[in-house]
Every structure is written in structure tokens, then in C-alpha cells.
Symmetry: C3
Subunit: 393 residues, 3 copies
Amino acid sequence: QNNNAPSTYDPHEIAITGYLQTQFQKAQSAGITSFSGGDFSTNSDNRFIIRRGRLKIDRVDKYTSIVFQLDATQNGLQLMDAFIQLREPKLKEFSFTAGLFNRPFGYSIVYSSGYRDFPERPRVFQLLMPRERDIGALIGYRPHTILKFLTLEFAVVNGSGLTARDYDSKKDMIGNIAFKFDSLAGKKFHIGFGGSIYRGYVRSGTKTYYNSTIGGFNANTSDDFVGKYLDRNYYGANTQLQYDNTFGKTAIKAEYIAGKQPGVASSADLKGPYASQSFAIQPATNLYARNFSGYYFWLTQQIGKTKLAAIVGYDVYDPNTDVKGMEIGKPNTFTTSGDVKYNTLGYGLTYQLSNRLKFTVYNEHVTNESTSLIDVPNDIRDDVFTTRLQYRW
Amino acid sequence: QNNNAPSTYDPHEIAITGYLQTQFQKAQSAGITSFSGGDFSTNSDNRFIIRRGRLKIDRVDKYTSIVFQLDATQNGLQLMDAFIQLREPKLKEFSFTAGLFNRPFGYSIVYSSGYRDFPERPRVFQLLMPRERDIGALIGYRPHTILKFLTLEFAVVNGSGLTARDYDSKKDMIGNIAFKFDSLAGKKFHIGFGGSIYRGYVRSGTKTYYNSTIGGFNANTSDDFVGKYLDRNYYGANTQLQYDNTFGKTAIKAEYIAGKQPGVASSADLKGPYASQSFAIQPATNLYARNFSGYYFWLTQQIGKTKLAAIVGYDVYDPNTDVKGMEIGKPNTFTTSGDVKYNTLGYGLTYQLSNRLKFTVYNEHVTNESTSLIDVPNDIRDDVFTTRLQYRW
Amino acid sequence: QNNNAPSTYDPHEIAITGYLQTQFQKAQSAGITSFSGGDFSTNSDNRFIIRRGRLKIDRVDKYTSIVFQLDATQNGLQLMDAFIQLREPKLKEFSFTAGLFNRPFGYSIVYSSGYRDFPERPRVFQLLMPRERDIGALIGYRPHTILKFLTLEFAVVNGSGLTARDYDSKKDMIGNIAFKFDSLAGKKFHIGFGGSIYRGYVRSGTKTYYNSTIGGFNANTSDDFVGKYLDRNYYGANTQLQYDNTFGKTAIKAEYIAGKQPGVASSADLKGPYASQSFAIQPATNLYARNFSGYYFWLTQQIGKTKLAAIVGYDVYDPNTDVKGMEIGKPNTFTTSGDVKYNTLGYGLTYQLSNRLKFTVYNEHVTNESTSLIDVPNDIRDDVFTTRLQYRW
């Protein structure tokens, strides 16, 4: 389930695995911005898509392994994972990973989409760490003895994602700590929790950047600001609980993330929700340093001892915690549709037809805060219903 | 030979198959529009190309299967097939296919290019169903008992092809019926025939569309026509005959298709033959609703009991059956080079060196009707000679 | 080690091999043009990249074989090799290769990057034969008897590389002869040498081309020059020596190439070093017919009997041997930064951790000749330090 690993660590020659997700989706209105598989086309409110088509090739030796994964959909082909792993021969407590891998931040980023109960990662993670991956190096530590429930990870990455050779000269750093206690209380209770830090930078390509204050942004202009690095710092905490009760397994997962994200203003070329995303190339317009926060709750309830499960998720992303509601869009605040908060309530069912085949229906109700902006309705009609068939091979 | 199937339905773990077609081609003149592997570059009348480079990965369980196929050539990589299949456990009469698959229309669309005697599908099918595939869901029915020569198929697809997430909100429907009688008359005679219906729509992005009448188009303009859906309806019939005679196998295949195809006018940016193609994105210019027809005859004659076969093909595509010859290009008819009829006569030889290796030489003589258009010569010098080597693995 | 071959010629079903190279690089200044893995982004002087991610699929019969190789990196996916090989059944002295393969010119072009001691091919080969491959057909001859140390190759190719369907109507020809004597002098000495000819053309798309004379270019203008073909002729010689001495293996490799290369002038859109490259599409600007020369020396010294080796390389590319130093950039010479000579001195270490895993550190000191050009500093600060981890699978 961890993406930063081969299909199995048991030594093997080339193994080919993967998964395919094909789905039909219906949106509340045509052309909406969506984090449920990407934006809908301007005049389309429903669609068939190949959401993910993964082909993973890996090989494992006693001390080394390699993972090579492609994603192929109607949007094209992309390299998703390409990393070499070395494990310290004796205890294998230390590992070194180099290449293109999932950022080791928190829980949902590194958890495979082929195993996740919910169709998509929350909006906040899709925007802060688009497509999860980055290129760099990662050191991991998992004690074998007394602290065997502990995982420590430290990574250095470009910060510009899986399609870039990096556009600036500063690298970003990620630290992660995770605890996992399986099979407590008569093997019925499983618990995990952890925390993460991301410390990076975004380079300003212009003479002006905006810093956030309560109620709006302040402009800062100087010739020296071309090439200035603004902080991109995230802090995260997460927990996972599972209880194998008589009615069926119950799992609750939650994750919180907050920090500073340098983005841009929304514009005719860039819709509001994408103004606070992490960019793969040097942003051409002025930077806006925002304080953000986001979180999600995920509940999975197995229905009796069946292969059916009910899933309910709620996630929030507030790209700018310094301005709220009607303040957004007021004159001289420099706020735009890039500062609007979104909540998503999702609910649905998954049916695991076999260990390979899963059927999911899921409805998402997306709401945004009311603002003074004229281009953002009080509630954008952007709900999405998804029915998905997945095969894991 | 059916593209909507794994390499074999015998249960197996990951199987890797594919085929490679590499060819040298000589055109009658440089820069021609061609349906024999795509247009020639402006100043080029001959070329080496990788025509198809297919890598197919599939897996079959008792009741389920998955197919994942890539195409890699000098033009780039593309996902060609990605579908999950479920078969009804008991009789396997019913099957359900979801994902990216070949449109179940007629005979030549779903027949694999790795097995076809002729280098390419006819022009009419290349234009109406570019690259054969679409994304959606398909229900199939093959009785096991009394009607075992019958296949029924019904599909719902985006209508916008293999590279799109759909650009409009209406889905297209396809129905197909096929009969196949093998080994008649002392196992010497094989016959197949069938019919198909395609019922879809093309969205108008402008205030004006043109409907076809005898002798030209009529313009229709209204603010309401932005977003209007024009009918895209096809009807097809096909037959295949094979006779295993003492001289060698003789096979005749023919297919006819007609209906309504909303296209556009040809322009400086869009050559005539592409004006009546099916588009993957919203056409930006005015729609032209044309009545079209097309057909092909294919004859394959094995030479004695050798691995050599002679092939002769003839295909016709008339994008607009309401205007003919010199009427095209007359003032006030709104006709363009997008309304010109093309015939292709092809003849050649195939030599099956082994069950994996096939060598083909094929010459195509392409003729177009004479029109009043000044930009369309009476006979465009667009013949193409192809010599191809294919390896199937 | 020869790229124009399957993983092994022993008959086998589908075999999957490949290699992954991931590296960190530090440049002397941001945004430099570089032949050590490609140019750095404008504001970046260091980066993590996936340099090569190869997935090779091949299959070998007694008389035939197929190779299909993809390259996947952060830059996208590309078809790298796709060729069918036939071997003459009896002696297998003659072979025929058709498809996309490495140009059979000299030594370093066809030698696999997964086995090469040095991180990259020399600048001169990267420019003259970008990405090494082309599409066409190749006949090879390797006698089995008395002349078994000999290889002869003759190829016809598009001349426009691995991503093009050819942009002109003339094909290019390549001839290659190679001698290899293994295990001489008590099996301690290995020697190889050879020579190559490339005879091709570049089409002029404009009315003016420039021919090179001592001290500058002469302009030639005529309406007839649109469509004129300028000669693209290369001559090469190469040698490889290896001595298995008591201190460790010593290997010296050298290659020289010279000839005529029609390029263009540098411009705001095209940096100087790329002005003399081979183009995949019709050059839109005036051609400049240059006489060029280039060479490299590679020394690999195993350190004792360890897995460690020291590597030193020196390569030179002079795109225009008719003008030198301060003459470049003088008025009326029509010279540009496309005529500047570059030398690269590289040195580093490789450590072969296992037969699959290799670690390389390598520093390259790049110098350019001093010219009268104001846009080319006397020594561009374009050194590059590379640390690479490679896994071959």
C-alpha cells in the first residue's frame, strides 16, 4: 500500500503489476473545476474516463530493488515512479531511495490509489503536492528491535514535481515520523499516527510579491525581489484507527496540514482553485504568500462480514486563513478567487467483487464560502457523482 | 483477431504480446494527404516509419480479464486499449466491458491490424472512427446453445475518441449484430455477416450550422444554435466469405456504411479530407451536416498452397452524397474540398515468412472526383506504394 | 553493449530488461547550455533528474528477433528502439535490421549508455546524431571463418532521427567497418578499430544558403535554392585498446569525426551550440554549410583489483574549422555563436557495487574559444558536476 516500495520485498526477478480504474462521472454543471479526476470540459457535465492506468515493473534483490511505474490514460503517458532502493545488508533498518518517488509526507500522499477506499486524495494534498511525486533522495530508518513500530524518513527533492528538472536552485526537504501499532487489544485494534514537516521555497520571478496579513495582502516591490525565495513550509499530523468489531471492520483516518504556500492570484488564465497550487515551472506572475490549512476525515465501515463497505469522507482546504468570507474580494485586499475555502462531503459504497476487482459509487458535495467576489457564486454547482470499476493485477 | 479481447481467454497470469510494423513508403508527390499511414511531410515523398508498435499486457481469470495496450511510434506513445471484462460465471454468454476499447461497429474496426491482410483500414472508417477506440461500457451476448453463431453488442461511449475526456454532455450509442458460420460445406466454406448502428451527436459551438440539400448546403443561424446537437448517425452492413479451395484459400470481405456526419468546411488550417472527420474536441467553426456513404471490397487469394497471397482492395468514401462532381465548388453551394469523393484501388502481395513475420508490398491508386474547386486538381497525385515488415510477438 | 541487438541472441521468449539512471547535478552557473544531461533551467544551477529510464522488451528466435525499447523520464516517454532482425539461417553471417535503431556509425553511438563508463556521449556526437537513432534498414555482415574479427554494416535511414517521419525526400546512407581482436598476447590485450562514412543531405527551405570559406561565410541567394540539398557528409575513425595488467584493467578509447554539416546561424531562439545540430524538421532559416571536426579520448583505469575505476575523458568539437578564435564575430564573416569551438575535460570515479548497481561521480570542465562575439564570454561558466546511481535490470 506504500507507493515507495516494490510489489513485494521478497527477492524476485521482474514482476509486472498494476491497476486500471475506469469510471463514469456526472457533474452538477458543465465545465466545472474538479478534484475528482480533473476538470470537466467546458461543455461537458458527464464523461467516461480512464482515471488511472498503471503499469508497474519491479525487481528485488537481497539488498537492492528497483521500481519503474508508468501511468497511461486518455491524457497521455507519464513516468510515475522510477527509483532505486538500497537496504543496509545486516539489519535492513536503514534504506536509501534515489529517483522519482512519492514525497514521504503524511499518510495519504504515499498510500497507493490502487488500495485506497476513497476515489481521490483530498483537495488540499492534490494542490500542495500535485501527483504526489518528486525527484530526489530519501533516507529511511525502521528499527527492528525495540522501536519496531517506528518509521523515520528524511528526503531532499527538487520541489517541482514529477515532470520537471527543477526551475530553481534551492532544494526542498521533507521529514516524516510514523508510528504503527498493529493487532492491539486481542488483535482487534490497529492504530497509527505520525507527523511531517516540509521545508521548501518558491522563487519569485517578478519585482513584486504579496505577503498575507489579517484581512488581505500587502504588496512588496523592489528590484531585489526578482529571484527572492519565499518560504514553502508545511506541517502535518495524521492518525489511522481500525477496529475489527463484530459488525465489520471500522476504520477512521484523519490528517491535518497547515503552513505557508506561495501561490499566485487567480486570473483569466488560471482558475481560483489552482492559484494556490505548487507549480512545476517558475510562476510568471507575482507571488502571493498565503497561510493555509486543510484536513480530512475518512470513515470506512464494512457492512457486516460482506464485501460491501460504506465510505464517508469530509475534507476542507482553506488556501488563506487570514481572510474569510465576505472580506474576500473587498477593494485593496488583493484577494481573488484563489483565496476561497472549499469543503467537500463525500459518501458512497465500495464492493470488493474479488481481490482484484472493486466497484465504487461515490457522491461528492462540494461547497465554497460566500465571498464579495462577483466571479464566485455563493455555492458553485460543482458536485460530482462517480461510479468506478477497478482491476488490480 | 478481435481487438476487444485478451491474447487468449484461457486463464493466465500477465501475458505480454504485441506487434511491430516498420515500412518504407513512396508517394506520388510530396506532402500529400494520405490514409496509408498518415500525411507525408510537406517536402517529403518517401519515408521510413514505424507504423505501429504495440505492446499488449493482459491477464485472464475464470470470470474476469484485463487488457492494457500501448502504441509507440516516432509520433509518440499512446494508450490504445485499457479495459476490464467481466463474464457471467455460468454460461459466459453475457459479458461486460468497461474502459477504452474498440467501437463495436462492423467488421474492420474491431479486427486487429496485426492480423489484417491489408495494411490499413479504409479511408471511410479512419475518418468516421479515428483510431477505432472510444471510452465507455459495452455489453455483449453470445448464446452458447442454439444460436451460437450469433453475437450481439451494445455500447455507450463518449464519442470523442481515445484521447479525450469528452467535450460535450451527450453520449453516443452503438449496436452491433454479427453472424458467423464456420466450416460449412465439408468445412470448406466460412461465412459471416452483420449490421451495425451508431447513434450520436456533435455539438455546435457557433450560431450557424449548415444542413445538406441536393446540390449544396443551407445556412441556419440563430443564437440558440450555440450548444445545439446535430445527429451523428451511421448504419453499416458487412459480410465475409472464405472458401478453402484446391488452388488456395479465397477470402472476400465487404462492408458498407452510410449516414449523417456533422463535420466542418475545409479551410487553410484543415485539409479537405479531414473536414468530415470525427473530432476529439469541440469544433470551433460552423458545423456542416453531411449525408455520407462509403464501402470497401477486399479480396485475398492464397497463391497455391504457399505462404504467398495476392490482395486486392477497393474502397470509396463520399463525404457528401447530395452534391456531385462539378457542382462542388459552385457559388452559393457552400461546398468545399471537404465534400469531394475519393476512391482507392490497392493491390499487392503478402508473404508470411513465419507465423510471426509477414512481408507486404502494396500499391494504392487514389482518385478523386473532378470538381469546380480550384484547389482540388482533377486527379491529385496521391498514390502510395508501401513495403512493410511486421513481427508479431 | 551494442544497442542494435536484443538482450541476448540465445533464443528466448519475451525478456524484459532495462536500466535506470538517477542523478544529482551541480552546474557552475544557472541556466547553462549543457551536454551532460541537457540544459539547466534558466534559474537553476542544480537538479535531481531521471537521466534515462529504459524498458527493453525483446524476443529471439533461431533466425529472427525483435527489440522494443522505451525511454521514460520527467521529460516524457519516447520510443527508443523498435526493430526487427532477420539472420541468414545457415551461417548467420548476414543480418537484416529494419525499423528504428542506432545509426551504425563508429563506436560510441551504438554502445549502450547502460554499459558505458562515462555518463554521456561526447558533445560532437550528441549534436551530429541527436539521440543516436534513426529509422530505416540495415544490412550487416560478420564472417564466421577466416575474417571473423570483421564487421561490415550498411544502412539507409531517413536522416531526421527517432521522432520524425522524415521532412525531405532524400535518404541518408551510412557505411561502417569494424575490426575486433580479443584476447591477444596471452589473453591480456584486446584491440578494436574501425571507420565510418555518413552521406546525407539537408534541404534548404529558403532562397539563401551560406557556404564556408577560410575566415567566414559567403552568402548565395537564388530562387532556385529553395529545395536545394546541401551535403551532410561525415567521416569517422575509432579505436579501442584494453590491457589487463596486474594493477587493473586499462582501457583507452578514441574516436575522430570530421566532415560537412549544414546547420543554421544562432539566434535569439537558438543557442549557439545548437546551431550546428542535426534537425528533425525542416530548418526554417538559412542554412550554413560548415566544415567541422571533433574527437574524444576516454581513459578508464581499474584501481587495483577493486570494483573502483578512475575515468578521464577529453573531447573537442569545432563546428567550423574554417574560422578560429577572434575571427568569429568579425563584421561580414556571418559567423555567430554557432561557430565556437568547445573542449571538455572530464574526470571522475565509478564504483560497481554489484553487476546491477553502479555509482558514478564525474566532473566536467568545459572551455570555449575566445571570440569577438559579445554574447559569448571568454570562458562560459558551464562546468558540471554529476553524481549518478544506475541500476541495470
